[in-house]
Amino acid sequence: MSEHFSIQHFLRGTFHQGIHPPENKHFTAEKPIERLAFPPQLVLPLSQHAGKASVALVRKGQEVVRGEPIARADGFVSVPLHAPASGVVKDICLMPSARGPMVESIVLDVYAGDPQEVLYGTEVDVDAIQSSDLMQAVQDTGLVGLGGAAFPTHVKLSVPEGCVIDTVLINGCECEPFLTTDHRLMIEQAADLVAGTRILMRAVGAKRAIIGTEDNKLDAVEAIQAVLKKDDVVSVKAVQTKYPQGAEKMLAKALVNREIPSGKFPSAVGLGVFNVATATQIGQLLPQKQGVIERVVTVTGPGIERPGNYIVPVGTPIRFILEKLGFQGSARHLIMGGPMMGGTVSSLDTPITKGCGGLLILNEHQLTTEEQMKRYPCINCGACVDACPMMLNPCELGRMAHKAQYEVMAERYHLNDCFECGSCSYVCPAAIPLVQYFRVAKSVNRTKAAAS
């Protein structure tokens, strides 16, 4: 907390408004990244990304080698999938997903006792790849935004016509409480991060890159600075610790003071924004011509005995992780991602996917105190108005949602600019589920638009 009161803190860049939820990073911030044992079985949904689902390249009973492509991209907004472990394809069938619905997945029985070396892949000189071919190379890695949105990374590399990207922003804010994956990556794999950043710069034709992180991770800033050259085009900058600093719109404001126009992409103001985990993976995978097969996940919260930052193969069932790390049996509130924007896990048998950077296990104590919060009518306190990072008026929006005036909300009160960070619901003393209302409103509007 002390750094929040220093003068340097207030001189650092930031965005307007926002909130300060308890950081709770102490569970795992000091824990080096560790590898977890391979589970006996992996579940690999064919759709772990935004866009079209991948198409399976393997059939039932087929042996696969760790790192081998097992599904191909279906079109441009899609990515391939690689085998996270050597084993045999048990089935390709519908399996439960973290969000709830059953999804088409490849179920892989992992060979026990296999050394699980990555045999697949060839070394290539990345500098020799023409920048026009970089996009294809990135798609072949199967990379998606590892910060959570899981949008295929190569799609972001295609600069829209008429836009010139001058700056790449690498997002290492990790503003969600509890999570520390990006923090550890920046400390432990700074060289790969910077290498990946340079590749991304070349791919979009940017002249400079800024790695941004919150000032509760100044050790990460030092680690990155140590691998930068003198007068480097890549720089690292600390911004004020505040939620939701990790949203790309907030980061653009804090680092280069640009506002991404409503409904537009960062490219509209000359920016390309990527997560640190994504950049690090690019730095690691592209020179080896390999695909994404594992990721770092922060397993944390009061409901787990041994919290930490763990490398796990994509497709590892949550139950396996919990059993390995000492699940405190009474806890039943599991969140994939952070506590502010992450979704609850529908079943313990669902797998870790590419976009999942955290597994948070809250316990019953937290559950009950939250449940005890009584609902009151809106008292017009304006806390939500002062919290909204988009400067919307959640107070007014909430009233309208109450009356189901969803279209007015979108037309007059900028509902569609809400990116559902949840700051309004967090601060509301009347315990009005504001962001939850807004999700419903948006979804109803979408359905209506699709119907007409």
């Binding site: 939820p21 126009p261 559950l367 009151y376 017009n380 304006g382």
Partner: protein
């Protein structure tokens, strides 16, 4: 390992404030002001505060039960209204009239609109406005503070039997028996307005002069306000805007003619302005929520107060100024919608 999992939507964390907690802390902040009032005016002030709080809470409870709803008195907001009603009445105000004012404040000011969160006006001020119209003489009858027998006897008007006029003759005799030098029965504001006599601003700030039960000590009111602002339970911009605008506007008049106009320092510490600015204009329900709206609202209240005091028929205008500010709140909210992040200007949109 249990199979059932809790399904919820984000955010899974919640901030620390809740409505009842905010209201409870406002009550805490009003305690020093109330205690000072009792210290200054004795038994009468105590009876006034107790009556008003009991009637407010009782009225809310009664109406909730009558309409078949769960009682909402546990949210503490009725206690705030009760305290405020008592604090803005003269200390010797007949208790039956105070009970009436308290009943009106909750019934008309709050319940009729739909309860907490739906009231357009500050309920305490609705009650005060009712009392001002219904009981014109008692509400302008002021008692000197620090009377030496204040803890032994009531001010004679306090115990007026219900529905009877207070015995002002007995009151006059009682005041004379106190033998206080130079006491004219007028508040500093009235003296200023009608006789152009300005009392010592420091005495006003500390609160040792005739006033309503709880408006006297600007210092204690400010302390309560600082506490709430520090706990983020009060929008500090509103009192700053109210007091600032009142200070500047009255300062302009004072510089023009210090003979007849009060000094700006006198303006901000006299009468009910401090209590109004800190505890009543800031009532969350009836004040705007937008960042610019809050300033406009505060400036409106501050300048209206000065205009009423200097040019209106009354010597005090805080109550009407705040009620007018409350009335303007929906309009202010509507006209001052914040500029959103990444907003594309309307003109540009048309061009596209």
């Amino acid at each position: 390992m249990s199979e059932a999992v809790q399904l919820k939507t984000s955010p899974h964390l919640r901030g620390m404030h809740s409505v009842d907690k905010i209201m409870r802390h406002v009550v805490y902040a009003l305690i020093p002001v109330s205690l000072f009032s009792v210290m200054q005016f004795g038994l009468s002030a105590l009876a006034l505060i107790v009556t008003s709080v009991v009637v407010c809470v009782g009225t809310e409870h009664f109406f909730c039960k009558r309409s078949g709803k769960e009682s909402t008195v546990s949210d503490w907001s009725a206690v705030i209204t009760g305290l405020l009603v008592a604090l803005i009445l003269p200390p010797g105000f007949p208790l039956w009239m105070a009970a009436f004012a308290a009943f009106v404040s909750i019934a008309v000011g709050k319940v009729f609109f739909g309860g907490l969160g739906y009231n357009v006006f500050n309920p305490a001020l609705v009650g005060r406005a009712f009392a001002q119209a219904a009981f014109t003489v008692p509400i302008t009858t002021w008692t000197p503070g620090m009377a030496h027998r204040r803890f032994l006897e009531f001010i004679p008007t306090t115990l007026t039997p219900p529905f009877l006029k207070p015995d002002f003759e007995a009151f006059r005799v009682w005041v004379e028996s106190l033998k206080i030098d130079g006491y004219s029965g007028a508040t500093p504001l009235a003296m200023m307005k009608f006789d152009h006599v300005e009392v010592d601003t420091l005495e006003l700030f500390l609160g040792t002069l005739a006033s309503s039960a709880g408006e006297s000590s600007a210092l204690l009111i400010l302390l309560g306000g600082f506490y709430l602002a520090f706990r983020k339970m009060l929008n500090w911009k509103i009192p700053v805007a109210v007091l600032g605008s009142a200070f500047i506007l009255s300062g302009i008049f004072y510089l023009k003619n210090p003979e007849i106009y009060p000094s700006p320092f006198f303006t901000v510490v006299s009468g009910g302005l401090m209590l109004g600015a800190v505890f009543m204009a800031t009532d969350m329900v009836s004040s705007p929520v937008t960042p610019i709206g809050v300033w406009i609202y505060g400036i409106l209240i501050g300048s209206l107060t000065v205009m009423i005091r200097l040019f209106g028929g009354l010597n005090e205008g805080v109550m009407y100024a705040i009620l007018l500010g409350n009335a303007a709140t929906p309009l202010i909210n509507n006209l001052t919608q914040p500029r959103i992040y990444g907003a594309i200007r309307k003109r540009k949109e048309k061009a596209v």
